[in-house]
Symmetry: D2
Subunit: 297 residues, 4 copies
C-alpha cells in the first residue's frame, strides 16, 4: 500500500488524475473549492477536507492542479498553507500550467520551508487524463523527482525530465502549447484558403489527418465547424498565449507568431467566443475572408 | 511491359521518380536542360532526347517536374511543344508545385489541343522520391486520372484525389507546404524561447520529436544548427511562400501567418542564406533574440 | 502662347490637371476611353481625339494619368502608339502611380524610339489637383525634366527631383503612399483603443488634428464613421499596397508593416468595402474589438 | 505671489518643468531620489527636502513626474506619503506617462484621503519642456482641474481636457505615443525601401519633412543614422509600447500594429540598443534587408 498523498484542485483535469491515483493504490486527502466536485472521489475512498492546508501531513506529498498562477500562489501563501504543514522533507508536485517565473518564485518560497517543489505540468486533455495518456514534463531537485516518479508513472504514459530548475518544465510546457496554438492558426488559414479556392475543408482536413496526428483533431473540428462543447475553452487558450507572451517579453525573445496568436485570440474574446473551443478562432479567419462563418447547429 | 512514357525535368525530385518508373517497367524518353543529369537514367535504359517536344508520342503520356510556373509554361507553349506532339488522347501528368491559376490556364490550353492535363503535385523530399514514399495530390478529368493511376502508384505510397478542377490539387499542395512552413516558424520561435529561458534546444526538440512526426526532423536540424547541405533550399521555400501569397491574394483570403512567413523568408534571402535549408530562418529568430547565431561548422 | 500638348486619361485626377493646363495657356489634344468625360475640356477649348496615339505630334509632349501599370503599358505598346508618333525629341510626362519596375521598362522602350520618359507621379487628392496644390515627384533625363518644368509648375505647388533613374520618382511616390496607409492603420487602432477605454474618438481626433496635418483628415473621417463618398477608394488603396509589396519583394526588403496593411486592406475587400474610402479599414479594427461597426447613415 | 507647491521627480522632463514654475513665481519644495539633480533648482530658490512626503503641505498642490507606474505607486503608498500629508483639499497633479489602470487606482486611493488626483501627462521632449512648448492632456475632478489650470498654463502651450475619468488623459497620452511609435516604424521601413531601390534616405527624408512635421525629425535621424545621444531612449520606448499593449489587452482591443512595434522594440533591446534613441529600431529594419547597419560615428 502506498503512502497517503494530498490533492488540491479537482477540475476537468485534476479529478481524473486523482481518480487514477486512487485506483493505483494511493490513499488521498482531497480538497476542492467547489465541494460538490469531490463527490465521486469520496465514493471511491478519498477523504475530503475543508481547508487546502488539511490535505498535507508532515514530510508528505501534495499534488496541485489549479487554474492559474494567482490561484496557486494564494493557496501556497495562505496562512496556514499546505506548504507549512508539509514542512521538512515534504514534496509539492505542481501540475498546473503556470509561468516559469511563478514556478521559480514558488520553489524559492518552498525551500525556505524545507519543502521541495517539483514542477510537473502535463500535456493532454481530460480524456487523456482519464486514460493515463498524459505526458509529464518535470523539473526540480533530483531526490524529490525520484520520489515523485511512481506517482507520475501512475497518471501518464511518459515523463520528460528537464533538470533541476523549477521553471524549466513550465518553459517546455509553454513551448508545447505554443506549438499547438500555432498549428491551430495555420490550419484555420489554410482551410479557409482551400475553401476560397473551391476545395472543401473536409477533403483537406482528411488528408492532413493522415500525415500529422498533432493536426488531425483540430483540422476536423474546423472542417465541421464544431466548436461546442469546448475541449479547451478559448478563454483558457488566451491565458496560455498570455503566459507565452509574458515569458517571451521577460526573457527578451521576440516572437512575432506569438504576437499574431495573441491578437487572434483576443479578437475571439472580443467577438464573444470565450466559451467555444479555442479552435473557434477559425471563425474569425473565415469572416476576414468574407465567408459568413457560423458554428455548426 | 508498360507503354513508353515521356519525362521532362530530371532535378533532385524528377530523377529518382523517373528511375522508379524505369524500375517499374516503363520505357522512357527523357529530357533535361542540363544534359549531364540524364547520364544515370540513360545507363538504366532511358532514351535521352535533345528537345522537350521529342519525349512525346501521339496519344501518349508525358510527366513533367519543373522548377516553377514559368519554366513549365515555356515548355508547354514552345513551338513545337510536347503538347502539340501528344495531340488527341494524350495525357500530361504535371508533378510540379505551381500556382492553381497556372494549372487552370494550362488545363485550358491543353484542352484546346485535345490533351488532358492531370495535376499531380507530390509531397516529399528527394529521399522520399527515391524510396517511393511520396504522396500524390491529384485532380483533373476522371478518365485521364484513371490512366495515370498505375504511374502514380509506382512512385508513391498514396494518392489523394481532389476532383476534376485542374487547380484543386495545387491548392492542396500549397496548403500542405504552408503547414510545413508555419511549423518551421513555430519551432524556430519556441526553440529560441526555450534557450533564452535556460532549456536546451536539443532537449525540447527531442520531446517534440516523440509527439509529432511532422515537426521531428526540422526540430532536430534547428537544435543542431545544421542547415547544410540543404534538404530544401531557402530560396525554394521563398518561391512556395510566394505562390501561397499570390493564391491568397487572388482569392481574397487574408492570411497573416503567410505574410509573417513571407517576411521571414525574405529576410533569409536578404541575409544571404538562400542556399541553406529553409529551416535556417531559425538563425534570424536567434539573432533577433540577441543570440549570436551560426550555422554548425 | 505655349506649345500644344497631348493628354491621355481624364479621370478624377487627370481631368482637373488637364483643365489647369488649359487655363495656363496650353492648347491640348486629349483622349479618354470613356469619351463623355472629355465634354468639359472640349467646352474649354481642348481638341478631343478618338485614338490615344492621336494626341501626339512629332517631337511634342504627352502627359498620361492612368489607372494602373497595365493600362499605361497597353497604351504605350499599342500599334501605333503615341510613343511612335512622338518620335525623336518627344517627351512623355507620366503622372500615374505605377511600379518603379514598370517605369524603368517603359523608359527603356521609349529610349528605343528616341522619346524621353519623365516620371512625374503626384501627391494629392482630386481637390488638390483642381486647386494646383499637388506635389510632383520627378525623375528622368535632365533635359527632358527641364522642358517639363513649366508644365509641372502649372499643376502643382512644388516639385521634388530624384535624379535620372526613371524608377526613382515612383519609388518615392510609393514611400509616400505607404506612410499615409500606415498612418490610417495607426489611427484606426488608436481610435478604437480610445473608445474601448471610454474616451470618444472625436475628442482624440480633434487633438491629433492640432498636431499633425497628415493625420487630421483621416482621424476625422474615422471619428465620424463617414466613409462615403470615397475620397480614395479602398480598392485603389489595395492596388497601391500591392505595388509597395511587389517593390519590396523584388528589392528584397522585408516590410512587416506593409504586410500588415496588405492583410488589412484585403480584409476590407473580402468584407465588400471596396467602394468605401480606404480609411474604412477602421470598421474592421472596430469589429475585431467587438464594436458593432457601421458606416454613418 | 503664487502659493507654494511640491514637486517630486526631477529627471530630464521634471527639472525643466519645475524650473519654469519657479520662473513663473511658484515657490517650491522639491524632492528627487538622486539629490544632485536638485542643485540648479536650489540655486534658483527651491527648497530641497529629504523625503518625498515633505514636499506637501495640508491642502496644497503636489506635482509628480516619475519614471514608471511602480515608482509613482511606491511614493503614493509610502508611509507616510505626500498624499496623507496633503489631506483634505489637496491636489495631486500627476504628469507621468502611466497606465490608465494605475491612474484610476491611484485616483481612488487619493479619494479615500480626500485628495484630488488630476491626470496631466504631457507631450513633448525635454527641449519642449524647457521652452514651455509641451502639450498637456488632463482629466479629473472639475474643481481640481480649475485649480491646476494656471500651473498647466505655465509649463505648456496648450491643454486638452478629457473629462472626469482619471484614466482618460493617460489613454490619450498612450494613443499619442502609439502614433509616434507607429510613425517611426513606417519611416524606418520606407527609408530602407528607398535605399534598396537606389534612392537615398536623405532625399526622401527631406521631402517628408516638408509634408509632415510629426515625421520630420525622426526621418532626419534615420537618414543620418544619428541615434546618439538619445532624445528618448529605446528602453523608454519599450516601456511605452508595453503600456499600450497592457491597456489594449485589458480593454480587449486587438492592435496588430502595436504587436509589431512590441516585437520591433524588443528586438532592439535584445540587440543591445536600449540606450540609443528609440528610432534606432531602423538599424534592425536595415539589417533584415541585408544592409550592414551601423550607428553614425
Amino acid at each position: 500500500m502506498h503512502e497517503t498523498i494530498g490533492f488540491i484542485g479537482l477540475g476537468n483535469m485534476g479529478e481524473p488524475i486523482a481518480a487514477n491515483l486512487l485506483h493505483a493504490g494511493y490513499r488521498q486527502r482531497v480538497y476542492n473549492r467547489t465541494k460538490s466536485k469531490t463527490a465521486r472521489l469520496a465514493r471511491e475512498g478519498a477523504s475530503v477536507v475543508d481547508h487546502p492546508a488539511d490535505v498535507a501531513e508532515p514530510g508528505g506529498i501534495v499534488l496541485t492542479m489549479l487554474a492559474d498562477d494567482r490561484t496557486l500562489e494564494e493557496i501556497c501563501y495562505a496562512q496556514p498553507s499546505f506548504v507549512d504543514r508539509l514542512g521538512s522533507g515534504g514534496v509539492h508536485l505542481s501540475l498546473s500550467t503556470i509561468s516559469p517565473a511563478t514556478a521559480r518564485k514558488l520553489a524559492k518560497h518552498h525551500e525556505e520551508h524545507n519543502v521541495e517543489y517539483v514542477a510537473s505540468p502535463v500535456f493532454g486533455r481530460p480524456e487523456a487524463a482519464a486514460t493515463k495518456k498524459l505526458f509529464v514534463c518535470t523539473s526540480g531537485p533530483a531526490e524529490a523527482k525520484k520520489r515523485a516518479q511512481p506517482i507520475q508513472a501512475a497518471i501518464s504514459q511518459g515523463v520528460f525530465d528537464f533538470g533541476a530548475d523549477a521553471g524549466a518544465a513550465n518553459v517546455v510546457k509553454l513551448c508545447g502549447n505554443f506549438l499547438v496554438a500555432a498549428s491551430i492558426e495555420a490550419l484555420a488559414e489554410l482551410l479557409t484558403l482551400a475553401e476560397k479556392n473551391g476545395v472543401s475543408k473536409k477533403a483537406v482536413a482528411e488528408m492532413i489527418g493522415k500525415f500529422s496526428p498533432l493536426h488531425a483533431g483540430y483540422a476536423n473540428l474546423m472542417a465541421e465547424g464544431r466548436f461546442e462543447p469546448a475541449g479547451f475553452r478559448l478563454a483558457l487558450g488566451m491565458k496560455d498565449v498570455n503566459l507565452i507572451m509574458d515569458t517571451a517579453a521577460s526573457s527578451v525573445t521576440p516572437m512575432p507568431l506569438a504576437s499574431l496568436l495573441h491578437d487572434r485570440w483576443l479578437t475571439g474574446i472580443a467577438k464573444g467566443r470565450e466559451n467555444l473551443d479555442w479552435s473557434a478562432i477559425a471563425l474569425d479567419v473565415d469572416e476576414n475572408a468574407g465567408i459568413r462563418a457560423e458554428a455548426a447547429p
